[in-house]
């Protein structure tokens, strides 16, 4: 790899042994993928996927102490994934005890994040790119982020450039101020490998379509046609919210880091079909295919007929528009069923800044009256222990389904279960 004079000096220890190891790590990372040079990180902010202080991850906190002792901190402020705890979420005494033991390093780790350059106390969200959250990159900017759902959104909807980095590596890019140039940072790496033809009879659930596409194309780049029959080609609030959920499912059910939507996402709108590689295979998604994918999900509950004890919505975190829309839907559906409150304990999760904005409105009071709890927690972290794993939890998040024992239902099915059926 060809390094600049300054980068070479850093690698040789001009800024200390620890910084030299940071640069060496990034060089080896780039060399594994044939990168020929480093490029500057040009976004205003970074984003880290590690937001949890789990006791067993103490090597991470020791490494971060090492960085802090050497004053190797981030050159840019950064946001972090959601916190793993929220006392407002329904839980048993035993669960509370497990959470306390499991996240014994949370305070220590949050202090480390503050010293390393965390944007602020409200910077904990997986949807850091939402306008209210204050970390929205511009098109063409180079990022050093990790968190698959944020990376795929930044690449696809915002046109920024970021690889699917791992936790720790993303912080090292923000510390060094540069990252190796390969994959999704290059024009060639951003060309579409697959064509996806959507031929469903109605707008598919974003999370189900994303799952189907992710499972089919794995780490490749899809070019999606046919969504403009229902979705505006303009990147408005509704379209962006849909693409947020679509992308998160693509990224977790496969490992998609970038997708193009015909006429909608920046590169597809500008470059059209010239962005598609020659002889790209075509994947047709119709109603039958989506049903096939949905039917393929295993139910890993001990009792498949168990009554759900909890419903999570908002993985990734919900937008302001989604909170408003779901407030209307829950309220109307409860009214139609003659019920006052949701029949299954239900949690909507969103970014702290979005929650604050939402709570300024009457909608927040309406949502509260339905019994839905609004939280900024990470549902995945809540599910990430043996006790929660045994709970029958339902969700319309395909990411949560993939990484936990939560059972997936479509948005319509979830609405019916929490407002009418109670099971």
């Amino acid at each position: 790899m060809i390094l600049t004079k300054e980068q070479r000096a850093m690698l040789e220890g001009r800024q200390g042994e620890t910084m030299a190891k940071v640069v060496k790590t990034l060089v080896m990372y780039g060399e594994a993928f044939g990168a020929e040079r480093m490029v500057p990180v040009t976004s205003r902010c970074g984003h880290t996927v590690i937001s949890f202080g789990i006791g067993v991850m103490r090597p991470v906190y020791q490494l971060y102490d090492q960085l802090l002792n050497a004053n190797a901190v981030s050159r840019q402020p950064f946001s972090a994934d959601p916190r793993p705890l929220d006392k407002h979420i329904p839980s048993s005494l035993l669960q509370d005890l497990v959470f306390k033991v499991m996240y014994s390093q949370q305070e220590r780790y949050e202090e480390q994040l503050r010293k390393l350059g965390l944007m602020g106390e409200d910077a904990y969200t997986c949807a850091c790119y939402l306008p209210e959250a204050g970390n929205t990159p511009e098109r063409g900017e180079i990022l050093s982020w990790a968190e698959s759902s944020a990376v795929v959104y930044a690449n696809s909807v915002l046109g920024a450039r970021c690889n699917r980095n791992s936790g720790i590596i993303e912080l090292m890019g923000s510390i060094a101020g540069f990252v190796p140039e390969f994959g999704l940072l290059t024009d060639d790496g951003r060309r579409a490998d697959w064509i996806v033809e959507v031929r469903t009879s109605t707008l598919p659930d974003a999370q189900l379509l994303g799952s189907a596409v992710g499972m089919k194309v794995l780490e490749k780049v899809p070019f999606v046609r046919g969504l403009d029959r229902w979705l505006s080609r303009e990147l408005n609030e509704r379209t962006c919210a849909y693409l947020k959920d679509f992308g998160a499912a693509c990224a977790s059910n496969g490992s998609v880091g970038l997708y193009h939507i015909e006429g909608t996402t920046p590169e597809a709108a500008d470059l059209g079909e010239s962005i598609i590689r020659e002889n790209a295979p075509v994947y047709v998604v119709d109603d039958e295919e989506l049903q096939r994918v949905k039917d393929s999900y295993p139910c890993i509950w001990k009792d498949p007929d168990a009554v759900p004890k909890l419903c999570f919505m908002g993985c990734p975190h919900m937008t302001l528009g989604q909170l408003r829309e779901w407030t209307d839907r829950v309220e109307e559906s409860l009214r139609a069923a003659g019920n006052q409150k949701v029949l299954i304990p239900t949690v909507f999760t969103t970014a702290p800044a979005v929650k604050a904005e939402f709570e300024k409105t009457e909608d927040a009071r309406r949502l509260k009256r339905t019994g839905v709890v609004l939280s900024t927690i990470c549902p995945l972290m809540y599910m990430n222990n043996p006790l929660s794993k045994k709970m029958p939890v339902i969700t319309s998040s395909n990411k949560l389904r993939t990484y936990s024992s939560a059972r997936y239902y479509s948005d319509e099915e979830i609405l019916a279960k929490i407002t009418k059926e109670g099971k």
Partner: protein
């Protein structure tokens, strides 16, 4: 019978260990989470979706796999496994390595004392040939020999 495969060295080193083979993608977080959390000395695989590995001890094995999948915490998890001395003897990829596994291997090589050579691009034939329990030897130049 002995068969030799040539791969590319991602992180250098030599190793000799019994093979443990995953034919599907290796979900790093799901595989290690419970074993690390509960201090399982054998580091048994916790990924229910991986029928090849579920409940099998991973520590000290020559982990043979196509690629890793799952959460972007994957590299961090692999780094932690190495830092805690719970790593496989080596990781041998049939495909070119993915960014998350590469991150974990490189973090481990630079920031821990753990020895875990990683070789990729060994080809589909490698994964079709190697079976659980066969003796695998990894040389510094990325040559992988399978006996058994």
């Amino acid at each position: 019978m002995t068969k030799t495969f040539q791969g590319r060295v991602v992180t250098p080193g030599a190793a000799k260990a019994p093979a443990l083979v995953s034919h599907g993608g290796f979900n790093t977080l799901a595989s290690y989470q419970m074993a690390l959390m509960f201090g399982d000395k054998q580091v048994k695989c916790g990924d229910q979706n991986n029928p090849d590995l579920y409940h099998k001890p991973m520590i000290g094995k020559a982990l043979c796999l196509p690629e890793t999948i799952g959460s972007t915490t994957g590299g961090m998890v692999l780094y932690c496994a190495c830092a805690l001395g719970k790593q496989p003897a080596c990781m041998l990829f049939s495909k070119p390595i993915d960014s998350l596994a590469a991150s974990g291997a490189i973090l481990a090589a630079n920031w821990t004392e753990a020895a875990m050579p990683v070789v990729d691009s060994l080809g589909e034939e490698f994964l079709a040939y190697v079976k659980d329990g066969m003796t695998v030897t990894v040389a510094e130049d990325g040559t992988v020999t399978v006996e058994g």
